[in-house]
């Protein structure tokens, strides 16, 4: 049997397609399943009682999400656009964990990846708007780009809710980065990183 969880997960469950903006699971629902993105993309978010929304992360093909190791989900998840996922029952995983020693180790690895992501996200939120935007673009060029052209699956409101900014600030900073010839906004969803070094110089680590 294939013991590489992240790669073999597709052997373990069925595929389901979600329409743009449809809910995959809701916050505080039973976390009976977790998911691997095949195509499309997903936002995980929390909503406050007054309507404010924080997006905790975006998931693109290859990413695993919903693994919160708790009985109930800490986030809601929605398809940003039409999205295909492979679904795996947590109970199935737990059964496998009994017979395959490497599974718990791999779950810990996935957990530590999520933990690092969450810590970096928190760190992002204390930075200036420009730093947040630059960091976001550099993250996206690593994850969702062909060459230096980022294909953004999400709209400005999603970016704003991920970065803890208003939609107007996101727009203004993108335009100011364009004015500084760091990027070029080809369409709303396609951004060319003309000068990644310039973006990097705007971040601090």
């Amino acid at each position: 049997m294939n013991t590489d969880l992240k790669n073999s997960i597709y052997l373990l469950g069925p595929t389901i397609t979600y329409r743009r903006n449809s809910e995959i699971f809701g916050e505080s629902e039973a976390a009976d399943y977790f998911y691997k993105v095949i195509s499309g993309s997903v936002r995980a978010y929390k909503t406050l009682s007054d309507g404010r929304r924080q997006i905790g992360g975006f998931y693109i093909p290859g990413d695993v999400f919903g693994l919160e190791f708790t009985e109930y989900h800490a986030f809601s998840a929605e398809a940003i656009r039409d999205t295909k996922l492979i679904i795996l029952k947590r109970a199935t995983m737990n059964a496998l964990a009994g017979s395959n020693v490497s599974i718990p180790q791999q779950l810990l690895t996935l957990a530590s990846t999520e933990l690092r992501r969450a810590h970096n996200h928190a760190l992002l939120l204390i930075k200036s708007a420009q730093e947040r935007m630059a960091e976001f673009l550099l993250e996206m060029v690593e994850r969702a780009a062909e060459g230096n052209i980022i294909e953004l699956p999400m709209m400005r409101q999603d970016i704003a809710d991920y970065l803890g900014l208003s939609i107007e600030t996101v727009s203004r900073i993108l335009r100011s980065l364009e004015a500084a010839t760091a990027i070029k906004i080809l369409t709303y969803r396609r951004i060319l990183l003309q000068n990644p070094a310039a973006l990097r110089s705007l971040t601090s680590h």
Copy 2:
């Protein structure tokens, strides 16, 4: 053998005492050990190149920290005041994990606790200064209080760096909460929660 990791960890390693403000480990140091607080308290933080600091969490007696499930620490950790810790080698834990099936499960539980803490911290950082402060006080009254009197181990600068605020804002909001008779600042480090319900009404979930 006792299989309750969180409670039995003290059986497994020696005790070490750290002086006030001394470093326990540094960011990106090898994560060979993890720790349980016996007395005193600890701050875990990241520092940006320009000197800004973010405190990711405070640890008080009973808490386990340094468990990042990665080769290198993601945070630095310092004793806030004179602090006694029990130290456990990660290698020891890994050896135990081979012979005791419940250990990996317990590590996952600790990981999920840290994950939830990190997510809540990120959510905190998009809220208003007053909301952050109210939430912090309510968290502390659960963790480090006798009755309704909070004993703060940390100074204002630590609170500021945890909440993503300036020290002046922390001070101003504490004083405004006192003016509103929600709290009473007995000394800089001792705060009476006169009206927890008033604080709760300032938060949103």
